[in-house]
Structures are given as structure tokens and as C-alpha cells.
């Protein structure tokens, strides 16, 4: 059995397990939908000219996408790792040819499929509810995929270093919420204290937000990076961070007790 065969078997099992947990499926898609409905209504009815939601609707597309690209992998991977550990599934898998990297790759593929579908739903709703003018760049696909890879790696680390499913979900919320709002998704850098700038640059989600904005929003004021188109440059940075996060995440998955 090739590496691809093992990943396919793990992916298939992971996908079936997910789609058969109906509440998990419902809330995975409900969460971003409710967020768009609330924020979309706010944007249309309360454009005050200052503070939050003063930009055109398309500006916030990276933020809406980030809700699923960030939160879904963090919470799903965190609880999946905890669930595997509690059921001695890693102990079992450690005695099979499946490697930790292959396991994480399979789980990432499941997340990518879920998040891909959720992203389509989000884009449709954003256009429908907020009237956002979006440029459909093909770069959206790699941004979403690589974002998922990155945060699956982070989620695997969270699951590995927390001691229960509850702990993993709590940790993913505690990390995800600040990241979501402090990564130039809904709040621009100019609205934050200047000393906070370097912190924002540490978040992988910042490069996702900047890149997606550069690729989809005509009015984006995203700087070039070393003279490279910001849509491509930020994708490069995000890819590098994703490789590191995936490697660390795979390494963190327990093989022994």
C-alpha cells in the first residue's frame, strides 16, 4: 500500500466520521453563516464613518473566510487529537505503517473539503447579504488550502498539549478569537496601537487576510513585499508558515503514552 493509499484510507474514515456527526456538520456551517448575517446587517445599517465596519463590504471577505479557515481546523483538530488519544487510537495507529505526517495530511484533507464548501457558502452569502463586490481570483483556492494546512498544524499542537477534548476546544477558542480580530481581518492595523504592529505580523492569519484582500478586493491598500505583488508575496509567507506549522503539528502528535 502506497503512502497515498494510507492517506486515502485515513481520509475516507475521517470524512465519514465527520459527515455522520450531524450536529458537528450543522454548527460548522452555521457558525460562519450567523456571523455573516450579524456582521452583514451591521455593515449595511450602521456605517458610522469611524470605528468598526466602516470599510466597503468586500474589505471584510478575508475576515469571514478566516472564521472557517482559522476556527474550524483549530477546534476540529484539537478535539480530534484529544479524541484519538482518549480512545488509544494513536497507540493503535503507532503500530501500523501510517505515519504521524500522513495522519495529519489526511485530517487536513478532510478539513480542506469541509472548509472549501463552507467558503463557497460564505462567499455566496457575503455577496447576497452585503452586496460585496468581489474579484474571484484563482489565488483564493491556494490561500484557503494553505491556510487550512497551517491551522491544522496549529490545531494538532493544541490537541497534543491539552489533556482533554474540553481543554482542546477551550484552548482553540482562547487562541482563535484574538487571532481572528487582531490579524487585519475585521480591524485594520491603523485602528490598533502602533506598538501592536509587530504582534500582528506574527500571526499567520495576517498574511492570509492581506493576501486574500489583495486578490479579491479592488480597493485594497496592501503593500508589496520586497517588490512582489502582495497577493503572491503573502501567499509565499503563508506557505512558509504552513510548512513549519504542519511539521511541528505532525511532530507533536503522540506516538507513545
Amino acid at each position: 500500500m502506497s503512502r497515498m493509499g494510507r492517506v486515502r484510507a485515513e481520509t475516507s474514515a475521517g470524512w465519514r466520521s465527520f459527515v455522520r456527526r450531524r450536529t458537528a456538520v450543522f454548527f460548522t456551517f452555521f457558525f460562519p453563516v450567523i456571523l455573516i448575517v450579524i456582521f452583514g446587517a451591521l455593515i449595511r445599517t450602521d456605517p458610522t464613518g469611524e470605528g468598526l465596519f466602516t470599510e466597503p463590504a468586500a474589505y471584510y471577505v478575508p475576515g469571514y473566510l478566516a472564521v472557517v479557515v482559522l476556527f474550524t481546523p483549530l477546534s476540529r483538530m484539537g478535539s480530534e487529537v484529544a479524541r484519538h488519544r482518549e480512545g488509544s487510537r494513536f497507540e493503535k495507529l503507532a503500530t501500523t505503517p501510517l505515519t504521524r505526517g500522513e495522519w495529519l495530511l489526511a485530517q487536513t484533507a478532510v478539513n480542506a473539503a469541509i472548509i472549501g464548501l463552507a467558503s463557497l457558502l460564505i462567499l455566496g452569502l457575503v455577496i447576497l447579504l452585503t452586496g460585496a463586490q468581489i474579484a474571484f481570483s484563482p489565488l483564493l483556492i491556494p490561500y484557503i488550502l494553505i491556510g487550512v494546512v497551517c491551522f491544522c498544524g496549529v490545531g494538532a499542537m493544541l490537541g497534543s498539549y491539552t489533556d482533554s477534548q474540553d481543554g482542546a476546544v477551550a484552548a482553540s477558542n482562547a487562541i482563535g478569537l484574538p487571532l481572528l480580530f487582531l490579524s487585519e481581518t475585521f480591524i485594520s492595523l491603523s485602528q490598533l496601537p502602533s506598538w501592536f504592529g509587530p504582534v500582528v505580523n506574527l500571526s499567520p492569519l495576517t498574511y492570509f487576510a492581506r493576501g486574500v484582500r489583495a486578490a479579491t478586493y479592488a480597493g485594497a491598500e496592501v503593500s508589496t513585499v520586497a517588490g512582489i505583488d502582495p497577493a503572491l508575496a503573502n501567499l509565499g509567507i503563508l506557505t512558509a508558515l504552513a510548512v513549519v506549522a504542519f511539521a511541528l503539528g505532525a511532530r507533536s502528535i503522540p506516538r507513545t503514552d
Partner: protein, 326 residues
């Protein structure tokens, strides 16, 4: 015989708890080796050390000619003790999933039939009965037709019929040359399946051998159990030793005395004795010593040694403290 499993002086501690203490064993190709011992004796830790899912603090282990972490996993089958696979896959899907992880797997349908789950094949794992779940888990360890199989309490929670299905399966595997290491609390299981048995207590393998040898060496004598309210003194003139076993031994009712070293042919003389002295009794039962007697004798001995050691250490500490105070 070539050793497929070889462990020498394995040590493992968790904080202050000693899980393995100089545990050594050797299992030959095609042999079925059963590990028995009380809860917390170190059986699961030993299995983990041998399968590479825990790192021992000391000693060495080799399985299939390699260190546990480097062994060819296509040749290894493992059933962890508290294994809980994905609940919303059917038994059939579960076996297909685990089969998909190997280069050369068996047909999952054959494995499903082996563990007696064809009729429940489309039922989600979480909806199977406890015994069916355990049989599905056993199946997951067989999908790659392993050369070496570790089964940590394979029949826990399985009803008697299902247990016999698993026993027959293990016997067939052993007949076909698979080496099997299993842990169990079921002495009948160990006695029926195992070529050799190792008794673990306090992390040490305190005895190893064939069930027959262990019973001969540690099982004690045959016994005639007399359920009666009479005290052993009432049997003073009987030509055989008589005692009332401690409750902790757990193999005889509370209201029973045990006549030891007696052949079945001599039971009539005991009945005559009881009637002559008008000793009332409700039941007589005769039994040869078995593996459970070995288990109880050795586990009791280890427990007594540990208690003595702890009391001795406590006494030493008290003396030392008294010396310091003086």
C-alpha cells in the same frame, strides 16, 4: 527455537509508581504467551514497551528481530487495552479502514467473518454491543495477517459464545504459525490458549512456564470442598489436612472447609466420616489445582512480600526518626 519477542530487564516508572521492574521474557515463533497478573501489575506497560508505544526507562526489547520502534509494522498486529475506534464507522468500514493502512491486507469481509460479525457488519461501531465492539477491535488487529500479534485483554466484555469465537480464532492463528502475546484476567482463557504463561506482579515476572508446570510447581494440592458450618477442628481425626481458607483467597464459599491432598477415590471415606460424626454439610466438590490457584498463590505471596517490605521500610523510618529525636 527462534525468539520472536525478547525482553531483558525492562524497567518503567511513572512518578513513584514502578510499572516494570527488571521484566524479562522470551517468546518463540508460533508460541502463544499469556501474561496474567492483578490490575496494575504492569501487563499493559509491558505490552506497550514491546510494541514501541512506551519508552522503557531501562533494559532492552526486540521483536521480529528489530527494536520495537523500528519493526516492520506490516508484520505486527496490536489490540490496545482501552481501544475505542471511530464510533460512526460500521464494523465493515472499520476493518476496511484499518486494512487500507497496510501493504498487503486480508479481505475485510474474511476478517469480519472470522470475528463473527457478518450480520452486524453494517452497524455503526457505537451501536454494537460491548462484546461485538471488542470483537471488531480484535478484527482490526488481524487485518494485516500479522506474524506477531499482541492482544491486550482481547475478550474483556465479550459473552461466553463470543469469547469462544475469539479463542478459536487465536488457536487457528497459532496453528498457522502466528506468534501471540496476550494479557488476560481469565485464567480459563490463559489455560486453554497459552503454550506458556507469565505471571506479572508489581512489575516483575514472578513465574513463567507452561500452565501444567506452573500448576505443579505453585498450584498446591487437589482439594475437596465441604460446605458446612462445622469448624476444621471437627475434622481432627480425618487422615487428610483440613483448613478453612481465608476469604481473600476467594475460591471457596465462606461456610466451607477444604480437605487437601485427597484422591477422588477417597471421597467416600470423607462422606463416611461426616455421617459418622453427624457433621451437617450441604455440598461436596472436588477439584484439581489449576492456574487460578497459581495466580492466587503467587499474587498473594507478592502482596505479602510487598506489605512486609513496606512495613519494614516504615519501621526503619520510624527508628531513624526516633534516633533523630533522641
Amino acid at each position: 527455537m527462534e525468539a520472536v519477542v525478547e525482553a531483558t530487564n525492562l524497567e518503567k516508572t511513572y512518578g513513584d509508581t514502578v510499572a516494570l521492574s527488571r521484566a524479562s521474557l522470551s517468546v518463540a515463533r508460533g508460541e502463544v504467551f499469556a501474561l496474567i497478573g492483578p490490575n496494575g501489575a504492569g501487563k499493559t506497560t509491558l505490552v506497550r514497551a514491546l510494541t514501541g508505544t512506551t519508552e522503557p526507562d531501562g533494559g532492552s526489547a526486540r521483536i521480529l528481530g528489530a527494536s520495537p520502534g523500528a519493526v516492520d509494522r506490516d508484520r505486527l498486529g496490536v489490540l490496545p487495552q482501552e481501544f475505542s475506534p471511530p464510533g460512526r464507522l460500521s464494523a465493515r468500514e472499520l476493518l476496511a479502514y484499518y486494512a487500507g493502512l497496510y501493504d498487503d491486507a486480508r479481505d475485510p469481509e474474511d476478517v469480519l467473518a472470522d470475528v463473527g460479525l457478518v450480520d452486524a457488519g453494517d452497524t455503526w461501531y457505537e451501536d454494537l454491543s460491548g462484546g461485538q465492539q471488542r470483537r471488531a477491535c480484535v478484527g482490526s488487529a488481524l487485518v494485516n495477517d500479522p506474524d506477531l500479534l499482541f492482544l491486550d485483554e482481547p475478550t474483556t466484555g465479550i459473552d461466553p459464545a463470543g469469547r469462544r469465537t475469539v479463542w478459536r480464532l487465536i488457536e487457528d492463528l497459532a496453528d498457522a504459525g502466528t506468534t501471540v502475546v496476550l494479557t488476560t484476567h481469565d485464567m480459563a482463557e490463559a489455560e486453554r490458549l497459552a503454550d506458556r504463561v507469565g505471571l506479572l506482579a508489581d512489575g516483575s515476572l514472578v513465574a513463567q512456564g507452561t500452565p501444567t508446570d506452573l500448576v505443579q510447581e505453585h498450584g498446591g494440592s487437589s482439594r475437596l470442598t465441604v460446605e458446612t458450618e462445622a469448624e476444621p477442628d471437627a475434622f481432627a481425626d480425618l487422615a487428610y489436612p483440613v483448613d478453612r481458607p481465608e476469604r481473600a483467597r476467594g475460591r471457596t464459599p465462606d461456610n466451607a472447609v477444604v480437605v487437601r491432598d485427597i484422591d477422588p477415590a477417597a471421597i467416600g471415606s470423607v462422606v463416611d466420616y461426616l455421617e459418622k460424626r453427624e457433621i451437617e454439610y450441604t455440598q461436596l466438590s472436588w477439584a484439581e489445582p489449576d492456574l487460578e490457584d497459581v495466580y492466587l498463590a503467587l499474587a498473594d505471596a507478592t502482596e505479602r512480600e510487598r506489605t512486609d517490605r513496606l512495613e519494614s521500610e516504615s519501621g526503619d523510618a520510624d527508628l531513624a526518626q526516633a534516633g533523630e529525636t533522641a
